[in-house]
Amino acid sequence: MTSATNTVATVADEVDLTAAHGYTARARAFALAVLARGQVEVLQFFRSKDAVVFTLALPVVLLAMLASIFSGYIEHTHVHYSQVYTTGLLASGLASTSFLNLAVAIAGERENGGLKRLAGTPMPRTAYFMGKAIVVLVTCSLEVTVLLLFGHFVYNVAFPSTLGRWWTFVWVTVLGATALSLLGIAVSSLPRTARSAAPVANLPLLVLEFISGVFVPFTSLSHGIYNFAGVFPLRWIAEGYRSALLPSYFAKVEPTGGWDHSTMALVLLIWCVVGLVVAARTFRWTGRGER
């Protein structure tokens, strides 16, 4: 009986405490939850060593293979195919670490009950997505760094030559990763089971990679296809990386005749909004048939 009364008293104290500190207490709890989620997400990523190695290695291996198949210079330039492929694989690697990884990871957590368990705690729901943002930020930074260093030392890709070009490199990475992550969250609700998540998310990504001039040099793509790819984010991310890393005269051989930063930013922003709206409307904390 005494213990029951004590419980009630403690609860009453807490209520008073929350009332007094209301806003700060809630902000603190939120920050704590976000940090905890971010820490656990990053910890779990690095604990699965094979995933780390293969996630980082895949674009590098693809780059090495493509660069060995297509040798020589792009017509009318002194830019080697391998250098263009470096920029393309930067875009592709960004898509794998954000879009693909999130779609597969979230589908898995939905099926194995991880999401359901989190939804049952007082964790602010936003904290879960902030945790994902943190892990995507860490993994994408790693991925991009590895590819940039590999391209630089193996294929002589120059680092961005001006502050302006570094800025382009950063905003293309951040905006691109944001759009692709939101789309990855949206797509995570499509597969019926966690096992089918990878194929479901891979198909659209592979199509985009082929039509956006990532795997096939854009010089070999028809204008129609390349323009169609312009509806989607990947082509613009690849173009953004070219504009940050390749010599400025290269802009002239682009199918569009130049690097269009404002359309690039606009398309990526639109996909951020689309991804956010679809993700918010379709996100489920429990598995299929558990409603």
Partner: protein, 295 residues
């Protein structure tokens, strides 16, 4: 609503397509009570629990849990109840200690994670990866995650499935401790001896309704039911069902002139009562006149 009720549900209804899962279920639970929901698979236990936990929406009916509607309640409410889920395979790359600490972060006034780990009997495994835990150890971790927020009300959905008898006893002690501290516990289980050992009250659910509720000793008129007296007579085993077993035993004592060979006096077990309740309820719609007749 009454101050002393932590759960108050009336007329809960839920359909999945054309299947009726809940058909006007009523349930009440007092503060500090350990209430056990019993029922066959598909009776509506899990649906009921998930509606009360806030996971599922009801089609109709009223529900108050800790004074709030679970369908609308926010994170302050979520911090006041703890959930032990049926089976989870998440966070396998963390250690036990990391995992419990992580979940403690979400609660305003959590218990000491190390203490909770000790309490569920995972002390020696605190630094082991979850991937390497046995099924029973994972269930204990599930329990730890459900109680680390020091909830006023704990939902335990078939918590000891897959436990060996010793682990089950240990787990029962955890529940008794919680109850002693004033925590209310809603427990669903398949094991009748578990309900009998832990529950202050049991409610039998069948076909989406509570068909009977009461203390384990009194459920379905158990304490008044006829006793079965058995003894070894001159011509072999003899049985008699009687409402006055004492009188019969006295009579037998006289006729045997002292000790009665092989004497047992048994009331129906909780299982007998349970099976009868489940049987009766399903007889309403099916033709099982014979079964009724046999009884």
């Amino acid at each position: 609503m009454s101050q002393d009720l932590v759960i108050e549900a009336t007329g809960l209804r839920k359909n999945y397509g054309s299947t009726v899962a809940l058909d006007g279920l009523d349930l009440e639970m007092a503060q500090g009570e350990v209430l056990s929901l019993l029922g066959p698979n598909g009776a509506g236990k899990t649906t009921t629990v998930e509606i009360l936990e806030g996971y599922r929406k009801r089609d109709a009916g009223e529900a108050r849990v800790l004074g709030e509607d679970p369908q609308r309640a926010g994170s302050t409410w979520r911090a006041r109840r703890g959930i032990v889920l049926q089976s989870c395979e998440d966070v396998v790359d963390l250690t036990v200690s990391e995992c419990v600490r992580h979940f403690a972060h979400f609660y305003p006034a959590p218990a000491d994670p190390e203490e909770v780990i000790e309490r569920v009997g995972l002390g020696e495994k605190r630094n082991s990866r979850i991937r390497g835990l046995s099924g029973g150890q994972r269930r204990r971790l599930d329990v730890a995650l459900g109680i680390v927020g020091k909830p006023e009300l704990v939902f335990l959905d078939e918590p000891t499935t897959g436990f060996d008898p010793q682990a089950r006893r240990q787990f029962w002690d955890v529940v008794r401790d919680l109850s002693r501290e004033g925590t209310s516990v809603l427990l669903t289980t398949h094991y009748l001896e578990e309900a009998e050992a832990l529950a202050d009250r049991v409610a039998v659910v069948n076909r989406g309704r509570v068909v009977a509720s009461g203390t384990p000793r009194e459920l379905g008129g158990r304490q008044e039911a006829a006793a079965r007296v058995s003894w070894l007579g001159p011509g072999g085993w003899q049985h008699s069902e009687t409402r006055e077993p004492t009188a019969l035993v006295r009579q037998l004592e006289v006729s045997f002139g002292g000790e009665i060979p092989g004497l047992t006096v048994a009331r129906p077990t909780l299982e007998d009562i349970y099976l009868r309740l489940i049987g009766e309820a399903s007889c309403e719609e099916e033709s099982c006149e014979e079964e009724k007749g046999a009884r």
